[in-house]
């Protein structure tokens, strides 16, 4: 009498475990299909140089000729991209963090109007901004400059950064800020010594995305540079592609090198990336 239900229970348990393992296997298969192009990019980058793509399924005899060519051709461009991306992180955080704090904690009357403007700004097509900036930069001498590109790339990141940091700073209880103010701290001190440390995670998320957005930028690199002085790596890849690709392994090696920030950050900073992916998109 008593043993039968126990066996049933054990069987159900085993069945459940088996099913959940099945789901893991299925999940791995889905992921493998989705990420196949990325595998293929890595695989193609390790094939011997040439203008054809006769790659084997596995890079059994890896050749690093593609990487040698990529670094020789695009090494300086990778450095340019790095400078621009780090600059964008700094500009974005310096501009967005105080604004996020203000929108979260101050009781201005026009806060909802400000938020609406930020939401709409995110929807403005990049080509509209590029069109106007080209003319303005031409007059101001900001074409082919780091400053010009950093500021333009910040348009990808600032609205997003304000929204994501504000969401986090709204959750700081007003009483915490008030307590500091009673102790004599001004708004500026309260911001630096209380709000920023509490919102550290949101700051990291905003900074990471500012880096990735700027690193990925192609449109401003394409339109706001007219010479070869400063050439972000995305533009380098575009020029490699041309109309006819002459050296696929170099193209793919550059593509792999350009993917490293995203891959590395997704693996080591998964928590922050996942927070940004959900938080920034809706609000």
């Amino acid at each position: 009498m008593t043993t039968a239900p126990v066996i049933n229970h054990a069987a159900a348990q085993r069945n459940k475990q088996l099913r959940s393992k099945g789901f893991t296997v299925l999940g791995i298969i889905f992921l493998a299909v989705m990420l196949f192009p990325i595998y293929w990019m890595i695989n193609a980058s390790l094939q011997p140089s040439g203008n054809t793509l006769n790659a084997s399924l596995l890079p059994l005899n890896p050749s690093f000729a593609g990487y040698e060519k990529a670094i020789a051709d695009q090494g300086a461009n990778l450095v340019s991209s790095l400078i621009i991306s780090l600059g964008t992180v700094v500009v974005t955080l310096v501009i967005a963090a105080p604004a996020a704090y203000a929108l979260a904690q101050f009781k201005f009357r026009w806060i909802s109007a400000g938020l609406l403007a930020i939401l709409i700004a995110q929807m403005i097509p990049g080509v509209v901004i590029a069109n106007a900036l080209y003319a303005a930069y031409n007059d101001l001498g900001l074409l082919n400059s780091y400053v010009g590109l950093i500021l333009a790339d910040s348009t990808h990141a600032i609205p997003f950064a304000i929204l994501i940091m504000r969401a986090f700073m709204t959750s700081i209880p007003a009483s915490v800020i008030e307590a500091a103010r009673v102790d004599g701290a001004g708004q500026v001190r309260a911001f630096f010594s209380i709000a920023l440390p509490i919102a550290k995670n949101a700051l990291i998320t905003a900074g990471l995305f500012a880096f990735l957005f700027s690193w990925s930028d192609f449109l401003f690199a394409l339109t706001l540079t007219t010479t070869d002085d400063i050439r972000p790596v995305t533009l380098g890849i575009y020029q490699y592609l041309g109309t006819q690709v002459s050296n696929w392994s170099a193209v793919m090696a550059t593509a792999v090198l350009s993917s490293l920030p995203a891959i590395v950050l997704l693996v080591i900073a998964q928590k922050y990336i996942a927070a940004g992916a959900t938080g920034g998109a809706v609000k």
């Binding site: 999940g27 939401l119 929807m123 003319a135 004599g184 500026v188 575009y238 593509a255 998109a281």
Partner: protein
């Protein structure tokens, strides 16, 4: 502690020197000014990098703005002539149609696959969180990297896709070189890029549906597909409308993928309004005409932005 007590002592010493009302008022002003200074940098940036471009695009579209303008500084007003040029150009009709097909095709593909994956990952199983996070990768890569990778995959003679299809006896398809399939190829790549975004938002929506609803439903016999139609779908609807509208707004302005894959070709088969705007301004140096194209893009975005804001407000209310 010490610095704070010192500070309050300072205040005590200062107080007798000033009239209380004057002090209070000046402190209030200083406080307001400090508060405003928090938003000044962001406000300035928004005006210069979002406000100015929108206004400039409107004025540019009413001017004969070309390379010559940069030398002479002259851009004569031409009224609506640029818009007339745009609408009467041979490429306007096809570009509008391609924009619509590209947007609708991309969104249907991204949404259906994204919803399927979101529902799948909504169950808890070992590694589900890790696998779902890794799924974000296509979205985080530079779009031009995605373009380069897919160009190698879609290559007619030696690309892996045609080799794979060849094993089933399917003849090599000229994905990016034939006007009849190039748009489909570009849509496929854009679907791949957009899936992670859809999965993430829809997964978030699924997580917000209370477990009790499913428990109550299963008592009434609603499981599997029935549970999906009667519980999941109605509860997910607000998120769905946000995902779809944002999808439209982000898809109609796509430029990187098309420029990287086909540059609008072959034979203009992948020309969209965004590509026209770019090429008129930065290839033909007809900035006025380019601005007119991009204003059409803004107008379409604006319509969907209004729909989005209404859908979003509903989602918040509910």
């Amino acid at each position: 502690m010490t610095s704070q007590s010192l500070h309050s002592k300072d205040v005590v010493i200062q107080t007798p020197r000033q009239k209380p009302t004057a002090r209070k008022r000046s402190r209030f002003d200083k406080e307001t000014i400090t508060k405003i200074l928090f938003v000044v940098p962001a406000g300035l940036f928004m005006v210069l990098y979002f406000g100015y471009p929108v206004v400039k695009n409107i004025t540019m579209s009413l001017q004969d703005y070309t390379t010559k303008t940069f030398f002479t500084g002259e851009a004569p007003w031409v009224g609506l002539q640029n818009y007339a040029t745009v609408i009467s150009s041979n490429l306007f009709g096809p570009a509008m149609l391609n924009t619509a097909l590209f947007t609708v095709g991309s969104i249907i593909g991204q949404f259906v696959i994204g919803l399927g994956l979101a529902v799948f990952f909504n169950r808890r199983f070992p590694l589900s969180g890790f696998l779902r996070a890794m799924l974000l990768l296509p979205w985080l890569l530079p779009l031009i990297v995605a373009s380069a990778t897919w160009r190698s995959i879609l290559d007619q003679d030696s690309g892996i896709l045609n080799q794979f299809l060849g094993t089933f006896g399917i003849p090599a398809i000229p994905w990016l070189t034939s006007p009849s399939v190039a748009l489909i190829a570009v849509i496929i790549v854009n679907i791949w890029v957009g899936i992670p975004f859809n999965v993430t938002l829809l997964y978030g929506g699924l997580q917000d549906i209370p477990e009790e609803l499913y428990e109550a439903g299963s008592l009434d016999g609603a499981t599997g597909w029935k549970a999906f139609w009667h519980i999941t779908w109605p509860n997910l609807r607000p998120v769905v409308s946000v995902v779809l509208v944002l999808g439209v707004v982000y898809t109609i302005k796509v430029l990187d993928i098309i420029l990287g894959l086909t540059n609008g070709g072959p034979a203009n088969a992948t020309q969209t309004i965004a590509v026209r705007s770019y090429q008129e301004s930065f290839v033909n140096f007809q900035f006025g005409v380019g601005a007119a194209f991009s204003n059409i893009l803004i107008l379409i975005s604006l319509v969907f932005a209004i729909i989005y804001l209404r859908a979003n407000r509903r989602a918040v209310d509910e």
